[in-house]
């Protein structure tokens, strides 16, 4: 009897105990393990209020009635949001209080043909915007731009060096060097307390951005710079000012005026753009498809803080500056070679660590392409790469993918 009772008790105790244990564990660790996603940030929008007097003045102005009378209500319409760009003929009386708080507007340029646009009520921090004098009626659509017919050909200068960044030919007495430095005269100016050591000016070698053949060098250009700027497109038609107050929702409803789906889509787009911007800036690991794990230039270092895009670009440019493919065969130039290299704490590459990881070309072309890549690493790394000290663990092991593509072949 007792055994049966205990058996029944045990079962119920087990059930009850298990339930309590789950509840206790949930209370203790639920927030840690299963923390709910943070509630979405409430969208905050500034809401402007409109007094009756201001509304009447606004309505009168939009109705085309000229009035120079000040509003009866002397209270400052601090939150009145006027039309952002007034139409030139519209004459809206600015409230005095607002005008006092607003910096004096700049005069409109040369009101010869049409009257100068008058000031309109503005918010406390808003700046009155002068309307420029149109020289021609605004076009409904994009207008063609006139060009100067000329036989003068704007083209890249032919140079022996083809580099991503064009460089002018250095002066005759300036030696070529990768690093640009100013000339420092041996004779210091009288007011200079310290005489600096003499330093010769150097300049990067002349370079152009593409191979300029004789044919392209003499090719006639179709056009030069435009003789006039584009005519501005006409502004979208304003909504009927009379019907506007009736159609527009109340300012207090503005924050919730958007439909839920539109609001969600906007938020999603904002989140996506934000995530992209943050990911670009800090290279934060982000979930991505498996086939994009080896996306070039987005490698991740597990052992150190991520490098910013600027830091990676600086390293990339530093190697590319010495990556010379001019003497390679076309097959070697097309080869995509992946090279692994270890960078020492002194930011210089360890020569013995440079190894070929993979290649897309034949053995002969791979060898030439790899040697060119190794020369680039060793040459431009001989003085140390521009790398942040605090991220040593991140850039200590590098995987460099040399891929020229078919450009310039």
């Amino acid at each position: 009897m007792l055994r049966a009772w205990l058996g029944r008790v045990d079962r119920s105790v087990w059930i009850s105990g298990s339930g309590h244990l789950v509840v206790i564990l949930w209370v203790l660790f639920g927030d840690v393990l299963f923390s709910p996603p943070p509630p979405p940030e409430p969208e905050v929008m500034s809401v402007d209020t409109l007094t009756e007097a201001e509304f009447a003045a606004l309505e009168a102005a939009s109705g085309g009635q000229e009035s120079t009378e000040e509003p009866q209500d002397s209270a400052p319409p601090a939150s009145v949001r006027p039309p952002e760009r007034p139409e030139p003929p519209a004459a809206e009386p600015p409230p005095e209080q607002v005008a006092e708080q607003t910096p004096p507007p700049e005069p409109a340029p040369e009101p010869e043909v049409e009257p100068q646009p008058e000031e309109v009520p503005v918010a406390e921090t808003a700046q009155p915007e002068p309307v420029p004098e149109p020289v021609a009626p605004p076009a409904e659509q994009e207008q063609p731009v006139a060009v100067i017919p000329s036989s003068v050909v704007p083209r890249p200068r032919p140079a022996q060096r083809v580099a991503p960044t064009p460089e002018d030919a250095p002066e005759e007495d300036v030696p070529e060097a990768e690093q640009v430095q100013e000339r420092v005269a041996e004779e210091a100016p009288p007011e200079a307390p310290v005489v600096e050591q003499e330093q010769e000016a150097t300049a990067p070698p002349e370079a152009t951005t593409e191979v300029v053949t004789e044919a392209t060098e003499t090719q006639e250009a179709p056009q030069l710079a435009p003789t006039a700027s584009k005519r501005p497109r006409s502004r979208p038609a304003r909504p009927d000012p009379v019907a506007k107050p009736a159609e527009q929702p109340k300012p207090s409803q503005t924050a919730t005026a958007q439909s839920p789906s539109q609001s969600q889509s906007d938020r999603a787009a904002t989140d996506a753009a934000l995530a992209e911007a943050l990911g670009e800036a800090t290279e934060t690991p982000a979930p991505k498809p498996a086939n994009q794990n080896s996306a070039p230039g987005r490698g991740l270092a597990a052992n150190g803080p991520p490098m910013s895009s600027g830091e990676k670009d600086a390293l990339r440019v530093a190697v590319e500056r010495c990556w010379n493919v001019g003497s390679l065969s076309t097959e070697a130039q097309r080869a995509i070679v992946t090279v692994h290299v270890t960078i020492g704490a002194d930011k210089k590459p360890v020569a013995t660590s440079i190894e070929l990881a993979s290649s897309t070309a034949s053995d002969a072309a791979t060898r030439q392409a790899f040697e060119a890549a190794r020369r680039a690493i060793l040459r431009c790394g001989s003085q140390g790469f521009p790398l942040p000290d605090e991220k040593y663990e991140t850039w200590r092991e590098l995987e460099l993918i040399f891929d020229k593509g078919r450009v310039g072949l």
Partner: protein, 441 residues
């Protein structure tokens, strides 16, 4: 015991699961960068005068100069002046102080030595990758007669070029061309042959009759050309060694011209004019069998085989003006590959098979250009009053052609296939119609 086995089994399972994760962590520990904007500029190289190891005299300096000129002449390399050298190479076997050469930004270093004895010259060299602190390949030496010292130098340059670029060189090669002299109304044209750089010119024919369009055989021992010795243009075959000449495909009432060898050297394709119509024919040199490859009322000429001998590219005006077509080597329906504005002619298939060089005339100017074999990626390399007749270097990297300015004399020019390094070739007098030989054995 059973529990112990279970324990080890569990440990092994955990290790098996954890191993890939550890490998992945190791792989991801590298910072990956993609580089896509290289510079294209001549590679600086140093070439100290080769060491005289006995009897060479000034030959060592001459050979050094030719090697350096070969390399620098490609536009792919730039010689560092010897005045900048820090280390002086006085012995071929002496160790190289790489930091001294790195300091002057020499990326490649060529050291060598020359020895002569009994009419024989021995030239040996080493190529060093300065920034890798080691040699590129092993040392190499060439042996020849003293008279052939220029060929020894070209051989050295070819080896250096090949090791750095990964493609064969073209320095130890010759060019046959038409040497022109005399006034316009009494022009004398002779076949001449020279080294690729203009040295060692010799004449193969006299000026008794006008000759045109010489073409080397694939082995370089024979030359096809067109001569007016019979009063009409006819193609002839010359043996370079003996200078013996014999006619090919002679048929009464016809004119033959624009010949070119097949890659195996046993067949010649050429244009044959009969009754006012010009078509392309092939001739088996051994049997004399003649085959007609095209049959249209248009003018079809300038045939050139693909390197594998399976196709022929030629020019035809069957569409109304000169365009470039490709057809099977045994004839058949041709496919037009040129499509741009202007007229296209004298197509020549690259030895590498990737490009077709051509002459283009458009808006009153002549161009030498290249396009892929399907007609895409057309690129014009030159532009002048008159550019025509391209011929490929043996490695397919350089094109030589004829250029004539208004009122001037024709001359030979060369240009890299990329359009860079346009240079005038030194010749003895006016020159036209160049044809590059294969690399000499």
């Amino acid at each position: 015991m059973s529990r112990l086995r279970q324990f080890f089994t569990a440990v092994a399972a955990v290790a098996a699961l954890a191993a890939p994760a550890m490998v992945a962590t190791k792989a991801e520990a590298r910072l990956t960068l993609n580089l896509g904007n290289p510079v294209v500029e001549p590679m600086p190289f140093a070439l100290p005068t080769f060491v005289d190891e006995g009897g060479a005299g000034d030959l060592a300096a001459k050979i050094s100069q030719v090697v350096a000129a070969d390399l620098a002449g490609t536009g792919l390399f730039e010689q560092i002046p010897s005045t900048a050298y820090i280390q002086q190479i006085t012995s071929f076997g002496a160790p190289v102080s790489y930091p001294d050469w790195q300091a002057i930004n020499a990326q490649a270093l060529v050291t060598g030595a020359v020895q002569t004895s009994g009419g024989q010259v021995v030239v040996k060299f080493r190529l060093h990758d300065v920034f890798a602190n080691g040699e590129m390949g092993e040392g190499l030496q060439f042996v020849g007669t003293t008279d052939s010292w220029r060929r020894m130098a070209h051989k050295v340059a070819d080896a250096v070029y090949s090791r750095i670029t990964g493609e064969t060189g073209y320095f130890d090669s010759r060019v046959v061309y038409v040497s022109e002299s005399g006034p316009k109304n009494q022009r004398q044209k002779r076949l001449a042959v020279m080294d690729y750089d203009g040295a060692n010119t010799s004449f193969l024919t006299d000026s008794a009759s006008i000759v045109l369009a010489p073409r080397f055989s694939p082995t370089g021992d024979r030359i096809l050309f067109t001569s007016y010795s019979s009063g009409f243009p006819q193609i002839y075959l010359m043996d370079v060694g003996s200078l013996a000449i014999r006619g090919l495909g002679e048929q009464p009432g016809t004119m033959t011209f624009a010949p070119r060898f097949s890659p195996d050297g046993r067949t010649v394709v050429f244009s044959l004019e009969r009754g006012g119509n010009t078509d392309i024919y092939s001739l088996d040199i051994g049997s004399g069998q003649l085959s007609q490859l095209t049959n249209s009322p248009a003018i079809e000429t300038a045939p050139s085989f693909s390197p594998d001998g399976s196709q022929i590219v030629f020019e035809s005006d069957r569409s109304g003006n000169q365009q470039i077509y490709i057809m099977p080597a045994r004839g058949g329906e041709p496919t037009r590959i040129s499509g741009g504005a202007g007229r296209y002619g004298t197509p020549v298939w690259s030895p590498r098979g990737d490009y077709i060089a051509f002459t283009k005339q458009n808006q009153g100017r002549f161009h030498i250009g290249v396009m892929l074999t399907d007609g895409t990626e057309e690129k014009l390399l030159t532009a002048s009053y008159l550019d025509e007749g391209p011929t490929w270097s043996p490695n397919g990297r350089v094109i030589m052609f004829t250029r004539q300015d208004a009122g001037g004399e024709p001359a030979l020019y060369s240009v890299d296939v990329s359009g860079r390094n346009l240079r005038k070739v030194a010749t003895t007098g006016a020159a036209s119609d160049p044809a590059w030989s294969p690399l000499l054995p």
